[in-house]
């Protein structure tokens, strides 16, 4: 046990509150990486599955064209990688009871959501790296015409997907989490114009696709890389993504502790 003088020296009393909060979230994020980066769901959903899809997509590059399929590869990798982490870092901890340790600790809903979301963002960025390498291998070149726009939309997208999975994993029991995440992933792929370009879908379905964040994300990646878009103009895409992300953050941190505190 620590002596009494250390107790009064808790960092909470010395550093600005915001920094302390963030450092706690980062502590949890680093712990999660240490524990979970090699877990089966992360490996299979975060790496193997996206790679399989990338291989499939590259076969269609010739027929649909690079500006259609390359953004789709990025989008798929991001989606799967960003949503794979919460499935372990939240659901596993619910199953083995260790989530109690976080519930009993002086963390706010915001700290908890931030920490668990960081894991997904980190994996999302790894997914982007995998996509970049694959694209380069298959096409022999890499085109990013608006690098800042591209970077911002990638980061926003990984935040959005990661938050979505964290919200689901925090509020649902582990089995339901797996099912709902899978439904979410596959409908995002299908309706986000990732496997079948949105313009090729039947007319009524094209309207439905507007309800899926993945459509906006894919289009903003497309604009960042190729200076072109299919359905939504780049600024609308970015704003919609931003609004959805902020809303998810808000909902997640308001419900996180309630979901874990009966």
């Amino acid at each position: 046990m620590i002596p009494q003088d250390l107790h009064s020296n808790l960092r909470g009393n010395l550093a600005p509150a915001g920094l302390v909060r963030l450092s706690r979230s980062i502590t949890i994020f680093v712990k999660d990486l240490k524990q979970y980066y090699l877990k089966a769901p992360v490996l299979s959903w975060g790496f193997l599955f996206p790679i399989a899809i990338i291989v499939l997509l590259t076969m269609t590059v010739k027929s649909f064209g690079e500006s259609v399929m390359v953004p789709a590869m990025y989008s798929v990798s991001l989606l799967f990688a960003s949503t794979s982490m919460a499935q372990v870092s939240v659901s596993f901890e619910k199953m083995n009871g260790s989530i109690h340790r976080l519930v009993y600790a002086p963390l706010t809903g915001f700290d908890l959501v931030t920490s668990k979301t960081l894991g997904g963002v980190f994996y999302g960025l790894i997914g982007v790296f995998v996509a970049t390498v694959s694209v380069f291998l298959f096409t022999g070149h890499l085109i990013v015409l608006h690098i800042i726009y591209f970077t911002v939309s990638i980061i926003l997208a990984s935040l959005l997907y990661s938050l979505l999975s964290v919200l689901i994993a925090l509020t649902m029991d582990p089995l339901k989490t797996v099912a709902i995440l899978n439904i979410a992933r596959f409908s995002m792929i299908f309706f986000g114009g990732m496997v079948i370009p949105q313009v090729l879908l039947p007319h009524w379905m094209q309207e439905l696709t507007l309800a899926f964040a993945s459509l906006y994300i894919t289009d903003s990646i497309r604009y960042g890389m190729y200076n072109t878009w299919e359905t939504v103009d780049p600024y609308t895409s970015l704003i919609v993504t931003l609004i959805v992300t902020v809303t998810l953050y808000f909902v997640a941190y308001r419900t996180a502790l309630k979901a874990l505190t009966p």
Binding site: P3, T27, N96, H100, L102, Y104, T108
Partner: protein, 334 residues
């Protein structure tokens, strides 16, 4: 931070239609070790979670040094250390990594967390296991590590939820001796259990819960007085008693016996309020028929029996009145 370390004030918790804790009130003073005793489902964990700020009361409140444990939970959680009832550290991390991590989550710097983890490991006798993954520890060691997790940030209040449940006698007694060490540090400790002997050994005051209601609060020793179970007498005969002799003997001694616990032919164990007369009558009858007594034991009632009896009475509303705080009453007992 005004007020006692723990003040549970008309706490009521419903899960759907089930009332897990009903209008529960009690308090724990500075440096006190308070036991919460009750069978499965009595509401012990619910109460402890409410104290630790990890449960939203349906009605009532818990104040920790005057702070509302739910509404001001991040302040309250900082000064409470909880050992949950199930093993709950992170299985892929080593004991050291777990404790350093928890230290940091509770606001210690990296250096402080390392120092605190080392000191806690020493205190808990886990030095040989620091580099072992928590998931690979035996159950007894896991519980010791769990307890370390509750202590690493040097909390003022320690909440232990069934710390020894499911452990073998050696691991349990090891854990209890650590708890006794902790008691010397002047911290307020609240410990739940369904082992009455454990609560007797560790705490001076106990709250007994049954189906979410407090049925007793006070010194555990007083329970024995209230119930007045008498003495437990064990007698061993030189050989098995003849069946017809035993039925005659039974009639003769029945007025001295409150409860027959066991009879196996050459062994008798009973509760009696008058052990001396019982033994006189026994000896006389036995010797008159050529038997003899080879061993006698006169013991106070076992705590398990006290507890069981108390629970039976708590269940029977006609023979028992729920007690208010403080002095136990003997209404309906005996």
């Amino acid at each position: 931070m005004d007020g006692p370390p723990i003040l549970v004030d008309h706490l009521l918790k419903k899960y759907g239609r089930l009332i897990a804790v009903k209008h529960l009130s009690f308090k724990a003073g500075e440096g006190e070790i308070l036991g919460i005793l009750g069978p499965n489902g009595a509401g012990k964990t619910t109460t402890l979670r409410a104290i630790a700020g990890a449960l939203k009361p349906t009605m009532g409140r818990v104040l920790v040094y005057g702070m509302n444990s739910y509404k001001e939970s991040s302040r309250v959680k900082r000064i409470i250390g909880v050992m949950p009832e199930v093993p709950s550290l992170f299985p892929e991390l080593t004991v050291r990594e777990n404790l350093e991590f928890l230290g940091k989550v509770y606001g210690l710097s990296r250096l402080e967390a390392r120092k605190a983890a080392e000191q806690t490991i020493d205190l808990m006798g886990l030095t040989d296991y620091v580099e072992v993954r928590y998931g690979h520890l035996s159950k007894g060691l896991k519980r010791r590590a769990d307890m370390s997790g509750a202590l690493v940030h040097d909390p003022r209040i320690i909440v232990l939820d069934e710390p020894t449940a499911g452990l073998d006698v050696f691991s349990a007694s090891r854990l209890r001796s650590i708890i006794r060490e902790l008691m010397k540090t002047g911290k307020t400790i609240i410990i739940s259990s369904h082992y009455i002997d454990e609560i007797m050994e560790l705490s001076k005051r106990v709250v007994i819960l049954y189906k979410g209601t407090k049925v007793y609060e006070g010194e555990p020793r007083r329970l024995r007085d209230i119930l007045d179970l008498g003495k437990r007498v064990k007698v061993v005969f030189d050989r098995e008693l003849d069946e017809s002799f035993w039925s005659a003997l039974k009639d003769k001694i029945s007025s001295y016996i409150d409860d027959t616990l066991l009879f196996t032919g050459d062994y008798l164990e009973v509760y009696t309020k008058d052990p001396l007369h019982l033994l006189d009558v026994l000896k006389e009858s036995l010797e008159g028929n050529g038997y003899s007594i080879v061993d006698i034991d006169i013991l106070p009632p076992s705590w398990e029996d006290v507890f069981k009896r108390y629970m039976i009475e708590a269940r029977d509303p006609t023979g028992f009145t729920f007690k208010s705080e403080g002095k136990p009453c003997s209404c309906g007992a005996g």
